[in-house]
Symmetry: C2
Subunit: 95 residues, 2 copies
């Protein structure tokens, strides 16, 4: 599924709630999910880990919807087959 | 671009670094980027905001690569045209 299709799906499912909740509270949900992902990294359950990755990208798409950002367009503007810092593929940054 | 194609692109660009850095440090980069996204939400620059959204999904894909998780598969397993909690579209959860 394209990133933009996933963002549209999240809009159909959740925008009525996301928009009412607002940008700051939606961001707080995202940070909670990132924390849960961090905890799941130490678990032995691949299923739990998959679910937490899913939640983070879902809340990121929800936040992009509330902020009026096209996540796929924004992503490919910065990461288009090369590192945005060294402009090479693979990245050869030295830091 | 498909979510899986983006994850593959991140692998080509960064896996040699991500894998050496390891899961915990890659997760820490993700949390730093989420914090920067939070700061960018209050800025007036759409360009800056787009770049921060791009960074978060990029680091999420990098982390998925290190963790051996297929981000698209994991996402569609949980969010397939319906809310995973109430099983409806749009979501009708009451909490």
């Amino acid at each position: 599924m394209h990133i933009c299709e996933f963002q549209e799906m999240m809009k159909r499912l959740y925008f009525h709630r996301d928009n009412r909740r607002g940008m700051r509270s939606t961001y707080e949900w995202l940070t909670d999910e990132v924390q849960e992902l961090g905890e799941a990294l130490t678990s032995n359950s691949k299923e739990e880990l998959e679910a937490e990755f899913a939640d983070v990208i879902a809340w990121l798409a929800s936040l992009a919807n509330v902020a009026g950002i096209d996540l796929e367009k924004a992503t490919l503007k910065k990461y288009a087959n090369k590192c945005p810092k060294c402009l090479r593929s693979p990245c050869q940054c030295t830091f």
